[in-house]
């Protein structure tokens, strides 16, 4: 009995999105580690460089303080290497280990971002996104099409992104989701938002005169509100008139009005 209840709620209100590790959490963690290590390595190496430059600066004395240790190059000699190569190797090995292990560590996280949370567990909301100059169409499973992306809180949202004219890139920076919108191709990306509120989606690939203004609202709503809103939207609707303010003298391509619901 309880099992059926759970399944039922899951169908109506798939709450699990809240437990899923959001892409933004993944990014923030990796970015922090990289920033920390990157800064540390940078500071150490630059300091080390400056240390060498200053320590061995020519103080103008006649005498060469290292005359007995190293040979000075002479005019017209055949180019050869200097002594001290072993240290190069040690330093190189240390840095190589840091770099390789860092990247290897991020790779497992990449697999998670690529595959998304286990689909059996998390029923994702699938939305088609179509970029055009200069705006976005969001097409819901029931065929409803809008220019504002509305999604429920705590639910995995899967975007299937393409473009109807030139190359764009769809990203919602606060939610750390981004993917190219390529004409003729489909790419996908997913995210989940734990906080309700209004976010901004932007275009990240130069697409013409209106590129800078090619932004749109992303509204994350509480689940019940979302359900109410969605219930009202049966079937395909008129594309809202928004976004498309800029056009300049550009050869304008009419945004595709998509008819039937895909899937």
């Amino acid at each position: 009995m309880a099992g059926i209840m759970v399944t039922l709620t899951a169908v109506v209100f798939p709450l699990h999105g809240g437990d899923v590790r959001a892409p933004s959490a993944v990014f923030n963690q990796i970015f922090e580690v990289f920033l920390l290590l990157g800064t540390a390595v940078g500071v150490v190496v630059v300091a080390y460089t400056m240390y060498h430059a200053l320590k061995y600066r020519d103080d103008g004395s006649e005498e060469d303080p290292y005359a007995d240790k190293v040979e000075r190059p002479e005019m017209g000699e055949m180019p050869t290497g200097g002594t001290g190569g072993r240290k190069v190797f040690y330093s190189f090995s240390i840095s190589a280990i840091i770099v390789v292990s860092l990247i290897a560590w991020t790779y497992s996280q990449l697999l998670y971002i690529e595959q998304g949370p286990d689909p059996a567990q998390e029923e994702a909301l699938e939305i088609d996104v179509e970029g055009y100059r200069f705006g976005w169409d969001f097409i819901y499973p029931n065929g409803h099409t809008t220019n504002t992306l509305r999604v429920p809180q705590d639910r995995v949202v899967r975007l299937r992104v393409t473009s109807t004219d030139v190359f764009h890139n769809f990203g919602i920076p606060e939610l750390r989701v981004k993917t190219d919108a390529v004409p003729g191709q489909h790419t996908s990306a997913w995210f989940t938002a734990n906080e309700t509120g209004t976010y901004t989606a932007k275009c990240y690939e130069l697409c013409g005169s209106g590129h800078s203004l090619m932004t749109t609202e992303v509204i994350v709503m509480p689940q019940d509100e979302y359900e109410n809103w969605y219930a009202e939207t049966e079937g395909p609707t008129e594309t809202e008139t928004a976004a498309n303010e800029t056009g300049g003298g550009d050869h304008q391509i009419a945004p595709a009005t998509v008819g039937g619901a895909p899937a």
């Binding site: 990014f27 990796i30 990289f34 390595v41 940078g42 190496v45 630059v46 080390y48 460089t49 060498h52 061995y56 020519d58 290292y66 000075r72 190059p73 005019m75 017209g76 055949m78 180019p79 050869t80 290497g81 200097g82 002594t83 001290g84 190569g85 240290k87 190069v88 190589a96 770099v99 390789v100 860092l102 990247i103 991020t106 996280q109 990449l110 971002i113 100059r133 004219d165 030139v166 190359f167 890139n169 990203g171 981004k178 190219d180 004409p183 003729g184 191709q185 790419t187 990240y204 130069l206 697409c207 013409g208 005169s209 209106g210 590129h211 800078s212 300049g248 003298g249 550009d250 009419a254």
Partner: protein, 856 residues
């Protein structure tokens, strides 16, 4: 001074010298000055859009103005400033460092320069043709096609053509430098022994040879989409509706692949010369030999090779599959490791040194520090999860400016390093150091805040309020950086007159050969024949040389002068390639050993001028305007004529009497030049065929044939053409055999046969095309022409490029037939052999086009 030895070359004070000269040092100076001009051009554009960005919004330039400024800034800096600047040094110094008296083909070198200059002028002209290109320096498709360019879009077409012209210059330059470095090294200098700057140039030109060939393919295809109406980069044909089942779903990604296949090697092409300069300056100003030199070199070689297999790290978000992303993540991280090693090698070179903080050293040290920061931030981008968010943001902008402009920093160091060598004068060190201070401050004030404002999407003029402070800072930094150049220009300009005279070597511990000769060096560089046979630089006198070369069979070198010539073509995009091709045409004038090397020719300038007129005309022919049509016609005729003039001009560039030539000892320089050129041509055709394969895979490999190709497109014409070309190839080798046996009749007959078969090939192709253009079937009621669909585009353009190669070959063949008729080549079949290399290559290409476009 060697004024009396200048062999018909006017003195440096005369303007005409600079139009005539083919001397590598003069051309080096021309490159340096021209590149600095383009630095100003690109710099002013940058300051304009930095002003725009001081606050959010496009109140200064307007949105299209902003996009144009950003795009052309990138193109100018990457193509017209930084590499040519580096090649100014390369021109001046590589022959000096390896012990040669000039480049292998001095006239082609002049041609490279003039093509470069005129390509830049064409770029400038594009600003006056309505709007110039506004789609970003990466020129993503399909925004780069006329359908999405406001107005007539002629400016954008000019930019594409300017890039083609630039690429032609680069290709000629690569062939020239490679031939020089493999045929003209001082005795005793193995490849690994040449000074590190020259080595870095060697690896740079290797990358250029292949990478720019791929870019050329991309640009030729794009130009064809602009001018001829093919549809490679268009997703759907009619441009107003977008069907779900796209006509050409691979369009956008094709550009991305081609561009980045070039683009990633390009970033090392930009950086390697700078690395070479840094290493030279570190050695000299620390008084230490480069620590771990061998590993430094191995690292550079690894990077050069690997640079061709990392390009998809610019495409992580395009939907390419996970395995390929994984591979390219691994190669990207792999390629950062050799850089690690090089950085540490430079750092340890300072240990136990006598470090002198001169101006060039300050710039080199500064460059190293900037590069360390840029490299670390690059590793962030190599982690795909991070890259997903950094892509298209200021993080990328900040990263690549830290690395690329670090390269430029090193090159400015190079300018301060070699200025005394080039001018014979020393500049004011204090002013130089002040410039460095201002420069370094400006640089970091400009680019570091970009990391902090990384959430800003790139190429936008609208950004969130909170980031304003960083953008304002960056703008201030930009002006500080710009101002530092005023100090540099003032200092270097004034020192031309007021600077103290310097001797051969103003820098203690400098070792390479350029410092062993006067400043500036004499026209013929060295007081004798340079040799490292004893492990130290020596100059051999004529007598020793004569003794040494006697009885050596390889002494063919001695006294043989070769002409680097050009031939005429129809003046299309292939013009300059043809010039390189035609080096085969008139080699080896046998001249008496006493003949002097030539140093002057007016033809390179004329060829480039005519090429410029042609391209300017081509940019507007699609409008049908009489003005543009006549420009194209006049320019085409001019190009043809001046190439013919250049070919017929006697010009002597002797091979060195004694030289180190591993691994091409037995490959005469003209032949080596030809092979090198063909190697780049392989990549050009490879990229065309690769493009075909890619769009076909994207469409559906097997559905392609069924959906897009009419039944009238049959195998027979292709098969006949295969027979014709194979037979003509056979006749070329027969012509060789006949020339060897001194049978004039046989030679002429075989060449005439070759020519006739080639013409037959073209006629057959013409008939076939005519037929296909005019078919009326249910599937293709309006014929099957260039714009019908993506399959027709690939068919006509790829086989058309091949046809253009055949045409060029026929022109050369006709010229050679006339010469053979007049008795040339008897007993010396080399010229025919070199033409044959080209002709057989064209044949081989067809062997692949035939099955791919006719059978499969």
């Amino acid at each position: 001074m060697s004024q009396e030895h200048e062999h018909g070359l006017p003195p440096k004070s005369s303007v005409s010298r600079w139009f005539l000269t083919t001397n590598h040092k003069d051309i080096g100076v021309l490159y340096l000055i021209t590149a600095l001009f383009f630095l100003l051009f690109g710099g002013v554009l940058a300051l304009l859009f930095r002003l725009e960005l001081i606050t959010s919004g496009a109140d200064l330039l307007g949105s299209m103005g902003y996009n144009q400024a950003v795009s052309t800034h990138g193109l100018l800096m990457v193509f017209w400033f930084i590499s040519p600047f580096a090649f100014g040094f390369a021109n001046y110094l590589v022959p000096l460092q390896i012990g040669a008296d000039d480049l292998a083909f001095p006239r082609l070198n002049a041609l490279s320069y003039w093509l470069y200059l005129f390509s830049g002028i064409l770029m400038g002209v594009s600003f006056f043709q309505g709007t110039t290109f506004a789609g970003g320096w990466t020129m993503y498709a399909p925004l780069n096609t006329p359908a999405y360019i406001p107005g007539e879009g002629l400016g954008a077409t000019s930019v594409v053509l300017a890039l083609i012209m630039f690429t032609a210059a680069v290709t000629l330059g690569s062939v020239n430098f490679l031939t020089t470095m493999y045929r003209m090294r001082a005795e005793g200098l193995r490849m690994r022994d040449i000074p590190i700057f020259s080595l870095s140039i060697n690896l740079t030109v290797w990358m250029m040879l292949f990478a720019f060939a791929a870019l050329l393919a991309a640009l030729m295809i794009l130009a064809s989409d602009h001018i001829l109406g093919t549809t490679y980069f268009q997703y759907s044909i009619d441009g107003t509706t977008m069907a779900t089942d796209a006509d050409n779903p691979g369009a956008s990604l094709l550009w991305a692949h081609l561009f980045w296949f070039f683009g990633h090697p390009e970033v090392y092409i930009v950086f390697f010369p700078a690395l070479g300069v840094m290493a030279e300056c570190f050695q000299t100003f620390t008084g230490r030999r480069l620590v771990g030199r061998k590993w430094f070199i191995i690292s550079m070689v690894l990077v050069a090779l690997q640079s061709f297999v990392v390009w998809m790290h610019h495409m992580f978000l395009t939907g390419i599959n996970l395995p390929i992303k994984t591979i390219f993540m691994a190669t990207t991280i792999g390629i950062s490791l050799p850089f690690d090693l090089m950085v540490f090698s430079l750092i340890y070179t300072m240990a136990k040194g006598r470090v002198r903080f001169t101006t060039p050293f300050l710039f080199s040290l500064g460059a190293l520090i900037l590069f360390i920061i840029g490299g670390i931030t690059g590793v962030f981008l190599g982690a795909i999860v991070l890259d997903y968010q950094f892509r298209g943001t200021y993080w990328v902008v900040a990263h690549f400016h830290y690395v690329m402009v670090s390269g430029a920093t090193a090159l400015f160091g190079g300018l301060y390093y070699w200025y005394p060598k080039i001018t014979g004068k020393m500049y004011n060190q204090t002013l130089g150091k002040i410039q460095f201070g201002v420069y370094f401050l400006g640089f970091n004030l400009l680019y570091f805040p970009m990391f902090l404002a990384w959430e800003t999407p790139r190429r936008v003029f609208v950004y969130p309020e909170g980031l304003q402070i960083w953008h304002s800072m960056a703008t201030v930094g930009g002006f500080v950086l710009g101002a530092s150049f005023l100090i540099m220009f003032y200092n270097l300009f004034v020192s031309l007159w007021r600077g103290e005279d310097v001797g051969p070597n103003p820098w203690e511990y400098a070792t390479s050969a350029e410092w062993a000769v006067s400043s500036p060096p004499a026209l013929e560089n060295f007081p004798g024949v340079p040799s490292y046979a004893t492990g130290k630089l020596e100059f051999l006198d004529d007598e020793t040389v004569a003794e040494r070369t006697e009885g050596t069979p390889g002494a063919a070198a001695h006294g043989h002068a070769a002409t680097d010539g050009g031939t005429a073509t129809d003046g299309g995009a292939v013009t300059a390639r043809a010039a390189a091709t035609a080096t085969a045409m008139e080699p080896a004038h046998e001249v008496g050993g006493e003949e002097h090397a030539s140093h002057a020719s007016f033809w390179p300038f004329l060829v480039s001028l005519a090429g410029f007129v042609t391209f300017l005309g081509l940019s507007g022919v699609r409008t049908g305007s009489v003005f543009y049509l006549s420009l194209a016609t006049v320019g085409g005729i001019g190009t043809f004529g001046s190439l013919l003039g250049m070919t017929r001009e006697p010009f002597h560039a002797p091979e060195m009497a004694i030289a180190e030539r591993w691994p091409f000892e037995r490959v005469e320089k003209m032949k080596l030049g030809m092979w090198t050129f063909l190697a780049s041509d392989i990549v050009l055709f490879g990229a065309f065929i690769g493009s075909y394969a890619f769009v076909r895979v994207a469409y559906g490999w097997t559905a392609w044939h069924h959906d897009l190709i009419p039944a009238e497109h049959v195998t027979m014409p292709g098969l006949i053409n295969t027979y014709l070309l194979l037979t003509s190839s056979f006749l070329v080798v027969i012509a060789m055999v006949a020339a060897e046996r001194e049978s004039k009749r046989g030679t002429v007959a075989a060449l005439v046969g070759t020519f006739a078969l080639g013409v037959g090939f073209l006629i057959n192709k013409g008939l076939e095309w005519q037929h296909l253009f005019h078919i009326h079937t249910e599937a293709f009621p309006n014929g099957w022409n260039l714009s019908t669909n993506i399959a027709s585009s690939t068919f006509y353009l790829t086989t058309g490029l091949h046809g253009a190669h055949v045409t060029i070959g026929l022109i050369i063949c006709a010229y050679m037939t006339v010469r053979a008729w007049n008795g040339a080549y008897q007993g010396d079949d080399r010229a025919i052999e070199y033409f044959g290399l080209y002709w057989h290559f064209v044949d081989i290409v067809w062997l692949f086009l035939f099955p791919l476009f006719y059978i499969l």
